[in-house]
């Protein structure tokens, strides 16, 4: 291939993608990075050593709001200047939205949320969830230009491909932004990153009321783990903060242990726990699909099992 262009609004995602690309420069070609918008010149410095041979910079005010139509116009032009035929983005919400816009502008094939990226026989192979998370579709993009947004955490770079990149100020002719940002309000700082927890206690609609979360929190404390939940408990009821929600539209977790309590096991949820080493399920319905995915299952009422388990763990700790 002729070259890779890496872009994300998240600088650490850029570094990972650039470093991974540099590891595969034999097949993918030289690596370029685009840094756009506010303070791009300064931010570009940190990408010089990440594996990119060229860092393209543009600070046009129109790029500041990161409107997808303007950013995709910028990336299409830079890809041309860099002679890149693969554009790698990170699959944040903004990144997915941008990837598809850019792909359409370039009339190209796009994988908007790749959970696997690899090279086989000189071809780029991607994997993504399909059929609502039931399957993984492994694909090859057939168009000359390819756009892939990679789920954060999917690839790692060795750092050994690092070169001292040249900073280039990109000449761009950009459209006027039509979407205006009125304000950007940070969400309350995240208190937890369940994607990186070793032990999770995940509760679903088997929980009858918010007050009963105390039981779940107590068990999590005994396990030295974190509380997690299914979507209804966060998005619908607002009982648990969204950052603790697991699934296709939430976090994907790889803990050592997850206890799944009163969770039916719908695939949109369970895609987020596939990476767990050990899965324990407690459900009052012996036919709940979660048992098919579990290593250990207890058919029972979580209101009986959870306090008993917490007690047993406490005693274990005391011994």
């Amino acid at each position: 291939m002729s070259g890779v262009l890496v872009y994300s609004e998240n600088d650490s995602h850029v570094q990972t993608l650039a470093s991974w690309s540099a590891d595969h420069a034999d097949t993918l070609g030289p690596v370029s990075v685009a840094v756009l918008g506010k303070d791009a010149g300064n931010r570009a410095e940190q990408h010089r050593g990440s594996g990119a041979s060229r860092v393209f910079v543009n600070e046009a005010p129109g790029l500041e709001g990161l409107a997808e139509d303007v950013v995709s116009s910028a990336l299409a032009q830079i890809a041309k200047q860099a002679d890149a035929d693969l554009i790698l983005l990170s699959a944040t919400r903004r990144g997915r939205s941008l990837a598809s816009r850019l792909a359409q502008e370039l009339d190209s094939g796009c994988v908007s949320e790749a959970i696997e990226v690899g090279i086989e026989d000189g071809r780029l192979i991607t994997g993504r969830y399909a059929l609502g998370g039931n399957t993984v579709s492994r694909e090859v993009i057939l168009t000359p230009l390819k756009v892939v947004a990679v789920t954060p955490g999917t690839v790692e770079g060795s750092g050994s491909g690092a070169v001292e990149g040249e900073i280039i100020s990109a000449e761009l002719s950009l459209p006027e932004p039509r979407m205006m940002i009125v304000e950007r309000n940070p969400k309350p700082a995240s208190t937890v990153n369940i994607a990186e927890s070793d032990r999770l206690v995940c509760v679903g609609r088997g929980l009858a009321q918010q007050e009963d979360l105390k039981l779940i929190e107590d068990l999590a404390a005994e396990l030295a783990g974190e509380v997690a939940c299914t979507r209804p408990l966060s998005s619908e009821y607002g009982w648990v903060s969204e950052e603790r929600m697991i699934g296709i539209s939430g976090e994907k977790c790889n803990p050592q242990l997850i206890l799944s309590l009163g969770v039916s096991g719908q695939v949109q949820h369970t895609v987020g726990i596939m990476g767990a080493k050990t899965i324990v399920a407690v459900n009052s319905d012996p036919n709940a699909p979660i048992f098919k995915l579990a290593d250990y299952g207890i058919v029972g009422d979580l209101y009986e099992v959870v306090p008993a388990l917490a007690d047993a763990l406490k005693q274990r700790g005391a011994n």
Binding site: T92, C110, V111, G132, R138, V182, R199, E236, L309
Partner: protein, 263 residues
């Protein structure tokens, strides 16, 4: 004002089964339903219609002949009209082709002010359609919206849900907006409305009627080759713990201890 809600017909994945290898999905014979996120888009459109005069809501879908039944739910919930693109060629197309069909239909409907979609469809969940349709129409796109307000006929204000921030944005109409499930709680259609839904007008196009050539959405226009589409391999112990609660917990703790997954 005219609002088009893009609604996809998908197989009911809750009923998905696998072949005896446990990995190959069997799609034949599954019932078709409307994908879930779009119901939030439709609910929003219907609420806008209820709140102000002269709003016309059109449910747009591209798919198989079964759509005629499936789309009745959208009409029952409150869409004024259905617009369907039905053509045998559609089953072999990809997101690029689907976006071509939807953009073509939106142009055929004409004078559309706002296109609403889900943030992702139940089956693909690629989120590519809203961006691709917007790009094809040359309109701005505002994706993953959890709050939406119209500021007069020609402008909208929305709150986008990004991972770490909420962004308040504004843009002129026409625009394409994709919505998340936090936006609202979709209503269930009353039974009587479902019965009456068949009487609402439905426009229907084939590819040719939209002026689209089958080559544009199939054959060489296909952008993605699927190598395999299988359930991930799963090796789980599937051990059901028996006995009294005390015995079950005892056995569980011993097993977890043995696996070294406790703190």
């Amino acid at each position: 004002m005219k609002i088009v809600v893009c609604m996809k017909q998908v197989v009911d994945l809750a009923q998905l089964r696998f072949k005896s290898d446990g990995r190959t999905p069997v799609l034949e014979g599954l019932p078709m339903i409307l994908s879930a996120f779009e119901k939030h888009a439709l609910e929003e459109a219907v609420r806008i219609k209820e709140a102000q005069a002269d709003v016309h809501v059109i449910a747009l879908s591209a798919g198989s002949t079964k759509l005629k039944e499936t789309i009745k739910e959208a009409l029952a919930i409150g869409a004024d009209e259905a617009a369907l693109v039905i053509d045998p060629a559609i089953k072999d197309t990809d997101v690029s082709g689907s976006s071509r069909l939807l953009a073509g239909a939106i142009e055929a409907i004409g004078e559309v002010d706002l296109v609403l979609t889900g943030e992702g469809s139940d089956d693909e969940y690629s989120g590519q359609i809203p961006s691709r349709v917007a790009a094809r129409l040359g309109w701005p796109q505002i994706t993953t919206v959890r709050e939406l307000a119209l500021a007069g006929e020609k402008r909208l204000r929305a709150v986008r849900d990004m991972e770490n921030s909420l962004e308040v944005v504004e843009c002129d109409l026409p625009a394409v907006v994709s919505v998340t499930s936090e936006l609202n709680t979709p209503r269930l259609p009353p039974l009587t409305a479902i019965l009456k839904a068949g009487r609402k007008p439905t426009q229907e196009w084939t590819l040719t009627e939209l002026g689209i050539n089958a080559d544009e959405i199939g054959g060489k226009a296909i952008q993605i080759e699927v190598l395999s589409n299988l359930a991930p391999e799963q090796e789980r112990k599937n051990e059901m713990l028996e006995g009294t609660l005390e015995e079950q917990i005892d056995a569980l703790l011993r097993a977890l201890e043995h696996e070294g997954v406790l703190a």
